[in-house]
């Protein structure tokens, strides 16, 4: 198959484009649905994330006065494009384009692409001329710093253990792994999973929590398409982060053919999304002491 066609399929159909949007939409809804069931709150409809996004795209877009408009628009676009590019580069089952790339440090590129949407609110807070954005940026620095440190540590462990920075070598199937190697993988994978919420943009903007209070965030002063891009970015990043977890820690140990690999990939996406949703969004119900 022509390399251009291969990349077009990868970018627009699988694992980017159509697949990423559909998977992101389903994962976002499942995360909200399960969170609502646990908290005992009302649930939104299945099509609600899509309806919100379409409505926002139809609204007027404006940025607060005094904003670095060019920089802010570039950051908003990057937040959507970066997870899509990360998905194109990840060697997932069925991604024929990624298997043709053989570079020595593509893991670093993937990490950078996944960290861009995470760091974006920090930069956006400063660019937007918004007091809420600045407050949120300062709040996020420590939380993100700690969690990103954990993510890098777990990735570094795998890099040292498998002796490469190239994804094509890192994701090679582990046919006869030693018990020590399996143990290292499990520990590094668990650390990665625990720190996964850092890779997902904050989902609680106060919009869906039913709280009428003003919650400071980089999104507080965005309108229309800017807000819609943030919703899209949150959905795509959910898919990209789960895909990296699957590619590094799960798929190398699934050696039973393509169908088993696809099943393991989808199960990892679902589990990681639910876990990250619970870790960042679910709070314990208040119980009265009697």
């Amino acid at each position: 198959m022509n390399i251009v066609v291969r990349y077009a399929i990868t970018l627009f159909l699988f694992p980017g484009g159509v697949f990423a949007l559909l998977a992101g939409w389903v994962l976002l809804w499942l995360s909200e649905e399960s969170g609502a069931r646990v908290c005992g709150t009302l649930r939104r409809g299945f099509t609600q994330p899509l309806r919100d996004c379409v409505k926002l795209l139809g609204k007027t877009t404006s940025l607060p006065a005094g904003t670095e408009a060019g920089g802010a628009r570039l950051l908003l676009l990057l937040a959507v494009v970066a997870p899509l590019l990360a998905l194109v580069l990840l060697p997932l089952p069925g991604n024929s384009a990624a298997n043709t790339i053989e570079t020595s440090g593509d893991l670093l590129a993937i990490l950078l692409l996944l960290l861009l949407p995470v760091l974006m609110p920090l930069f956006l807070g400063e660019l937007l001329a918004s007091p809420y954005g600045r407050i949120a940026a300062r709040r996020e620095v420590w939380r993100c710093g700690l969690l990103i440190g954990g993510l890098l540590l777990s990735t570094l462990t795998i890099v040292v253990q498998r002796g490469a920075l190239s994804l094509s070598i890192l994701t090679l199937q582990q046919l006869h792994p030693s018990p020590a190697s399996v143990m290292v993988n499990i520990l590094a994978g668990l650390l990665f999973l625990l720190c996964l919420p850092a890779l997902l943009p904050p989902a609680t903007w106060g919009l869906f929590s039913g709280s009428p209070e003003l919650i400071a965030g980089a999104y507080t002063d965005l309108t229309g398409a800017g807000l819609a891009l943030m919703l899209l970015s949150a959905a795509l990043q959910r898919v990209a982060a789960g895909s990296l977890l699957a590619a590094l820690f799960v798929l190398p140990f699934v050696t039973n053919g393509l169908i088993a690999q696809v099943a393991a990939y989808l199960a990892t996406l679902l589990f990681s999304s639910l876990f990250a949703g619970f870790a960042s969004g679910v709070s314990k119900r208040y119980s009265f002491a009697r």
Binding site: T41, L42, R43, R44, G45, T47, Q48, L50, R51, D52, V54, K55, L57, G58, K59, T60, T61, S62, Y132, W205, G206, L207, F208, G210, S211, P212, E213, L214, I215, T220, D221, L222, T223, G224, L227
Partner: protein, 175 residues
């Protein structure tokens, strides 16, 4: 077509108190109850006016509130609508004739007027539904037909009658 339906099923509200006794706020807060299930209809309360589609205005427009209310209204991205909730923003209610009082319509372009002191949550939902229709027309550029205008005027009269009779309001509240 989907875009049009999307805007009908995704509506974010922002309540603004420009000088209310908090009676209308309590009725608006009651909309959070599971009984009304706003989330299931795609209606949510926005934490920032920049995210909202509909402004729920309560209270008389005091001289000190005017500039702030105008600023809040300017933050809402188009298409947008204002629902004046309760008698105060419409005619001042018990505050009519007080020094500095002016109807909210002189400061902001009110789209839907909902009389009542205070109006019940069900009536507030009906007013929100009327505002959603206006948003939809604004988005598609359609103009209201004469028949629809007559129907709306009739509904407005009914609402006023119900607002005058508190017993009828309670009856309508029953599920």
């Amino acid at each position: 077509m989907f875009g049009r339906r999307a805007s009908q099923h995704s509506v974010w509200l922002f309540p603004l108190n420009s000088g209310s006794c908090n009676g209308c706020e309590q009725e608006i807060q009651a909309l959070h109850a599971a009984r009304y299930a706003l989330e299931e209809g795609g209606i949510a309360f926005a934490s920032s006016p920049r995210h909202a589609d509909i402004l729920l205005l309560t209270g008389i427009m005091t001289p000190r509130s005017q500039a702030a209310a105008r600023r809040v209204w300017e933050q809402l991205a188009e298409p947008r609508a204002i629902v004046a909730v309760g008698d105060c923003p419409i005619n001042g209610s018990v505050f009519r004739g007080a020094p500095g009082f002016a109807p909210a319509g002189e400061t902001l372009p009110i789209d839907v007027e909902l009389p009542g002191c205070p109006p019940s949550p069900t009536l507030i939902l009906e007013a929100i539904a009327a505002a959603i229709k206006l948003l939809d027309q604004e988005e598609t550029g359609e103009e209201e037909t004469e028949e629809e205008e007559t129907e709306k005027a009739g509904a407005g009269d009914e609402q006023e009658e119900k607002a005058d009779d508190p017993n009828e309001q309670d009856e309508q509240d029953e599920p």
